[in-house]
């Protein structure tokens, strides 16, 4: 094996490590009011965290952010059909994720999921986009319970989806950021509360 091959592989490995660490700063541990737990992503608007509907069955949740600080959050919008929920915290959170365009993904593009599978904090999984990008992204990746609601990023570290379902051995689905965009723009979803302070 040539030195070039080894250093090329090492570069990729180091880059994945850096990517996982950086993305993890914007991923929170979500504990729902009914004993559920999963992950959430600090979105690029103050006080907003996106997770899966099924991670937060109740109205309230507790978030653990990078560094271990715990904050209370409430569900302000949910769309069960998309499996999305928007959480609001008091004030704002640092380390927001960079949101990318899921429609620009090609089949075979590298994706990394960062979440809290089985309660393990910020565990990365490596995979690819398995079929053409749509409302839901089909992935060749190994995910476990607790990855739900976390970050799915492209090779540039931009959020392209929210992992929400395991469909087979090494296969999973994520809600695309296209769907999250529609959800946040009010095109879908049910408003949980009457007054939304961020309007």
């Amino acid at each position: 094996m040539t030195l070039e091959v080894i250093s090329g592989a090492a570069q990729i490995s180091d880059a994945l490590g850096e990517l996982a660490r950086e993305v993890a700063r914007g991923v929170v541990l979500v504990r729902g009011s009914m004993g559920s737990s999963g992950s959430g992503v600090i979105w690029d608007q103050p006080g907003l965290v996106i997770t899966n509907h099924h991670v937060v069955p109740g109205a309230l949740a507790e978030l653990t952010v990078a560094g271990g600080r715990r904050v209370r959050a409430r569900v302000v919008r949910r769309a069960p059909a998309l499996d999305l929920a928007a959480l609001e915290v008091e004030g704002s959170l640092a380390n927001a994720a960079r949101v990318g365009d899921s429609d620009r993904l090609r089949v075979g593009d590298l994706v990394v999921a960062v979440g809290n599978p089985m309660g393990e904090r910020n565990a990365p999984s490596l995979g690819i986009l398995a079929s053409a990008a749509d409302e839901v992204l089909r992935l060749s990746i190994t995910l476990r319970p607790g990855n739900s609601g976390g970050a799915l990023v492209n090779a540039r570290g931009e959020i392209v989806g929210i992992p929400h379902m395991v469909t087979g051995n090494g296969l999973a689905l994520a809600v695309s950021t296209r769907s999250v965009g529609r959800f946040l723009n009010g095109a879908t979803g049910e408003v949980e509360e009457d007054h939304l302070r961020w309007i």
Binding site: Q11, I12, D14, A15, L16, E18, L19, E22, V23, R25, G26, W43, D44, Q45, P46, L48, V76, R77, A86, S92, A94, N95, A96, A97, R98, R106, V107, G108, D109, L110, G127, I128, L129, A130, S131, A132, R138, S140, N154, A155, R156, G157, G168, N169, G170, L171, L184, N185, G186, V191, L196, W198, I199
Partner: protein
Amino acid sequence: MMLVAQVEPYTCSMTLSDTSSGVLATLSDGLANAVQRAGRSVVAVHGRRRFPASGLAWRDDQVVTASHVLERDSDLSVTSSDGAQHPARIVGRDSGSDLAVLAVQGASLHPIERAVGGNLSAGHLVLAVGRPGTPEPIASFGAVSSVGGAWRTAQGGLLEAYIRADVALLPGLSGGALVDVSGNVVGLLSAYLAGGDPVAIPIDTVDAVVKRILTGGSLRRAYLGVSTQAVELQDVLRLRLGLEQTAGLMLLGLEPGAPAERAGLLLGDILLAIGDRTVEDGEALQMALGPDVVGKSVTIRLIRGGDLREVSLVPAPRPN
């Protein structure tokens, strides 16, 4: 109602270094390009009731696919990467190696580009690429787990080699391509040969089977019409007969009219070798009864009544 309108863009703090971003973007583009490149030569094969499976454009008017995805013999078609659907017919198939060749008259398919050099080994990154009736190819990603030699498939076929890889088996990937990171085809995927585990037949082995199918050569394995039990040979017997092998196969049953009975084999005979292959267990017997010995006279070495004997017989093709 707008949930988050009129909010100033929030400052994102994720800072991936240019180097890392570049390295990973290059890898990502490389993988996506490999899928696109291989995808030109991966077609959808319509030959079963559920969703379609995949196939490889072997020539511009010929497709090789997994035999098990053809659940009917007629009303077959393939959809090429440009979306055109063409009627197809079976030229030949071999269920033991789970391969079938389809003629696609009038099509101008884009034949696969094969990986050159046989240096694929455990740890190499690979992609599984299929097209189960979708406009875009589908793909899964993993590493080669092992590359091995001759093996007997779950269907009783004998194949020269195999590739195992930890690629996820998306529905409809059977008949598709296992490709290297450049998009060159290293094998044909089957979810059937190894009982649901992802396994690929190396492209050179596919080539050999396709050639046999196209030249009408028999792919049916040889048949003696015996049931056997492996037995250890007593040391005293081995010493007296000058044998190195420590076990043989005792005949417990003989099918009336089958080659073994017709050649005069008797219950209690202990088979030692078929041609130049020693048979110490049932697996070795199966390996010795490949398609190459069908219809040819072979010498069987055996022990009868404590003495060595040789009997010639002609194995028949295995009944279906």
